[in-house]
Symmetry: D2
Subunit: 390 residues, 4 copies
């Protein structure tokens, strides 16, 4: 453990939602950081009043994110925040991230990164220009067994890839009262605030990132069909995309927020010429590895087993059978970002191998926005195939 | 139990394959029928020599199916076969079925019913004309919990349907030696004998029938994308279709015979506005019923439980917890066919409510062939949407 | 398949119970036998009237088992029954079996074999004396994956055995109306008819046989604690025994018929110095094999996999993923008995290796009765350790 | 969140073991406490050098626990530790806890509380005398679904209890090299340091506490049989106890550290006259609820579902489907202790309802030591029944 702890500022995340607290718990799980400042809401009064929920001293609670960035810059290096975490509605990610980066802060940003391609592309440029760390919380890629899957595929344990299927199913829209504006997340139903992608942006982008992260497959073109079944709003709440990849493997992404009985059912299946993998987010400590004519093997999250890959081992905190879960995976994104921050801020003279750093980047964010963009485009054109163009 | 047992003739089904024996075991499971005659191969010598494997007396073993139909017609009513079961390669189903029906025999036929639309439509006409019973062995619809699912949906337990996903995944193609012609099933790789649909015809049609049987949803149009990953042949071995239905619900059908670790993984998921169901063929005695905010319930195959529907109860032979499986489901198709045969042959004066008889019909067969036809058409036209036209 | 089919007589098994029909279905599943005669109830009128349910001709339906044995003996060899299956209340097994054996018939008998040790020992002698085949339907030993477990242990895949735990849990007693005598199985609550062992005899003996069959461990002594929780009767409905074995391994047997939510939950766990196994009767086609530091492997019932043992392969009828279940396992007991009968009756000149024949014998029956006897003895003496004395 | 954070001192827990880090992560998960001091090993040099691993400043790292207690007492109230967590070998728990309590500090102590009854009884007295908070980390009682089970039973959802079975199985002893003294945990094999109970103390006591916590059943007497199969040491590594309870229900506790393929398999099953429950530590977010003739229901950890009990809801941090696991359960023990500390230290004027506080107490610790004591006694007397005497 390092002497020095990172100082965290949180933008958004106050009130009834849970994601702000998740950011703080994940960021501080390994005691590598502490929350010292925040602008916890877009409503200036709430922004201040929520500070007490987070144990942030009133002098470091700000009415707006602009004030936070402005004031924190004026503090000494040992006092001011090292990074800000952005947990605001989707349409504000881009402008806040740009402002924070330009103010000299590293950024940890919720997904989807932006609500349109232009913002995403600009953000890529600003990250390059400012040379600050930018991490996107595609937290499911933080699970040890997801990283195990990725490394097994890179090691050739599956042979050449044939197909990958990722589905992300929830059912909470059936719990919405269509007469009442929800206390939290109301912006998710407003295309101006949320973007034109409904469940596609909310969960579909996670599924797509998981596909990309684990398989490394590069899209060539895709077709998409979406629907809106809930009375709750007019955005998509069910959809699927088929992806043609550059090497011929087929990708399938399916998302739903109208599936009764599904809580947070993110499922991954990968088929290769030599073997196949399956993983379920709600049973995250196991990974199933099947091969023709051989018994299917259940790989456990296991820091000490011979079959465990390096990246999976690095992502573990506990012995096998002592389950790890959502917080730990989320914290792994932060931990990876801290490695980059240490190098960037010269706390550590260990150079980070970007190829080996598993932390989702601004480029991953751009890919997610491109995926969203193309899904909307294909769906609006009778599910025609649209080319990937990054 | 009735005094009189049906007399069965088997066409094809001898040798290394298992489906002939499955037909006989299923047909006789409840001791309502006995196998008395057969033409067990397209090779006349084998057709005769296989008889001993089935315990059929040599005088009722025939060198060809034509001889079987011809000779059996000459026997007395109490001696001759009541029906023939067709377990031959796909491209021969139509002509054998037509000949058998015209010879006055009921027909139980393997799926896919025919390898092209014309044959399928002719067969529909011949069935109507001869007024004999024709049943197609979409055996997975014989499982009690599949029937439970169907009845729950008809009872409104799921509300309006939103989406249905059926996938059928196997991996055996990875076990094929591409240098050697397989001892059995070689015809499955030959488009002349198998039809142009590879895995689509072999397992995709089962998945489609399950979708239709359980949900009753009627296709409006579909789009399909298929691939051929195995070196084994050039037909599809992986594919998926998205189905637009007349009521707006989305159907998804996925098939694969190149998924390592999958044996016979036929899985059904149905989402409705009030609830959702899930069923797995490899764990057939359970059906999962989920509703938002309520605990997911595991319905067991249970002839005596209050939650069991009539059609599921009728399909049970054993108390709960005493698992039933593949043979019993297959036998239920036969049992349903026997009910129709008894009425048709006036053994019973109980009239069969065709709407309530769950036995797959020649119309179901036509639908399956149409599905295959349209999938091939869409795939060959860049996955464009093609209208359902029955 | 052999030309000649065995002729079966059924004693008991008529009416509301399901076990008589199970015997017939299992006996005839492979079309190696046919039911030709029966005495289907201890009530002479019912004994005759139930014949129609089984498709047995009235001239071969007998009012009593004595008449059946007497009359069938007078028929020609090609007409008379080769064996009788006994599906009567427990206390009658011994006398019927003895009479049948002495009348020259092979016997397939329900478990528990007898309700007391004296009867069991006499029966062992009569079997030896008459030299007829005697098989006990410990049907759970017929499952392919149970046989796989047995053979793996004999092959040393588990090293030296440490412990084996078998539990058999049901919950149906909670469905009994304590005010009403049940239509079927009422005798199970009457110590005169059922024996003094309640659930111990009904399910505990199955669990014990499974332990013995799979592990081959020989008891040295045991301690037992039983209870009666149901208002339904005063016999045990919950109990457990701990078994010290000759090689030091610990055996645990637990039985219950008062566990809500359990249907027919027979579970086996075996620990050895090199590996461990787990199997569940309600998911019978899988066997889990765990080893320290290695991924747990799921062995499937699979006639063609490299890991499948000979005895498991011989017990399969269908390809993997096409589930087999209760009937097939029960039928495997019959199939094994037929092999013995063929040798005994010189239909086949293939000598049966008794050590390799997996069919439960009269000695297994005696062991089961001894287990029951000692459990009752230990429980009545404050769970003191009682020595095994066979 | 409260303004003031608790200050934590850690005794033991440094080096290769993981439990020290678990204590710190759990204690600080909700940012209600911070680690400020420690004596991290019984080896004074290590005690100091490990401080850096925990981010503890060198002036608050102590060579011995005695020094820690002595020096911290001298600090101001706002500086000194509020509580110490004891993560040392078992035989030292008692003396350290007594010293800490007498020095005015609250204590969080690893289980088993002590290695003999006398120490346990003394500790009960010292807690009463000093009136400080004493919590024992029976962390598995911190899982939301364990608390749900407990509350459902208290609410009568299971009717009268019939039986409870808890088993705790691990397999790591098969990974021990018997020639080499392990780098960590070597004391666990030394009866002087570990106590006479091997796996019984290590995992059996957790199982027993879970039984007591969930069911509230009070032992009347017990019988126990233990074995030592590993070559690793001569203490028990496999055992089971049967518990007669005051209300007639039967308790079963089984423990093993020699079961291949088991990681941390703590399983709970409870049978009552109206329903039954099942829970698995390795799948902690689900609880299965079965009732005769009704579908088994899967209760999810779900802060917002109608079926969730208050104590389960209070134990949740995340929405359903976003899995929580080991750390969160461990943290719930700390959270409960903090509630007591706040009252004790008058930070809060909210009085704690001791009956409702779920935090394991010194009395629970005494019960665990009694359980261990009686198991050893029964086992040494041929598994005779020994009376519970608290």
């Amino acid at each position: 453990m390092n002497d020095r702890k990172f100082k965290m500022g949180l933008i958004g995340g106050g009130g009834k939602g849970f994601i702000g607290r998740v950011h703080v718990t994940a960021a501080t799980l390994d005691r590598e950081a502490e929350l010292v400042a925040g602008a916890f809401s877009s409503d200036p009064n709430k922004a201040l009043s929520y500070a007490v929920d987070f144990g942030v001293q009133s002098e470091r609670a700000y009415a707006t994110y602009e004030k936070l960035l402005q004031q924190e810059q004026l503090l000494s290096n040992s006092e001011k925040v090292d990074f800000v975490s952005i947990a605001t509605p989707n349409h504000t990610h881009a402008k806040i991230a740009v402002a924070a980066l330009r103010s000299g802060f590293h950024v940890i940003c919720d997904k989807p990164m932006t609500t349109n391609l232009e913002d995403a592309k600009s953000l890529v440029e600003v990250v390059a220009e400012t040379n600050k760390v930018f991490a996107l919380t595609h937290n499911y890629s933080g699970y040890p067994m997801v990283r195990q899957a990725r490394e097994m595929i890179r090691n050739g344990d599956l042979g050449e890839l044939i197909a990958v299927r990722v589905s992300y199913k929830q059912g909470w829209m059936h719990g919405m009262d269509t007469e009442v504006i929800p206390e939290r997340g109301a912006w998710k139903s407003d295309p101006m605030l949320n973007g034109r992608a409904g469940s596609l942006g909310d969960v579909g982008t996670h599924a797509f990132h998981l596909l990309r992260f684990v398989t490394g497959l590069i899209p060539l073109s895709l077709t998409c069909k979406m629907s809106s079944y809930s009375k709750h709003h007019n955005l998509d709440d069910y959809g699927q995309a088929i992806i043609q990849t550059t090497v011929g493997a087929t990708g399938s992404v399916l998302w739903s927020q109208v599936s009764h009985g599904r809580l947070n059912d993110l499922t991954l299946q990968v088929d290769g010429t030599k073997g196949a993998l399956e993983w379920h987010q709600e049973d995250p400590n196991r990974l199933s590895y099947g091969r023709f004519g051989k018994p299917t093997m259940t790989y456990e999250r296991h820091p000490g087993a011979g079959y465990t890959t390096d990246s999976a081992r690095m992502a573990c905190r506990l012995p096998p059978g002592h389950p790890e879960a959502f917080y730990e995976a989320f914290a792994n994104i932060y931990r990876d970002a801290y490695v980059q921050m240490r190098e960037s801020d010269q706390w550590s003279n260990k150079s980070v191998d970007r190829d080996e750093n598993l932390c989702p980047t601004v480029e991953d964010g751009l890919e997610g926005v491109m995926f969203t963009h193309l899904c909307l485009e294909s769906d609006s054109e009778e599910s025609s195939w649209v080319p990937w163009n990054l």
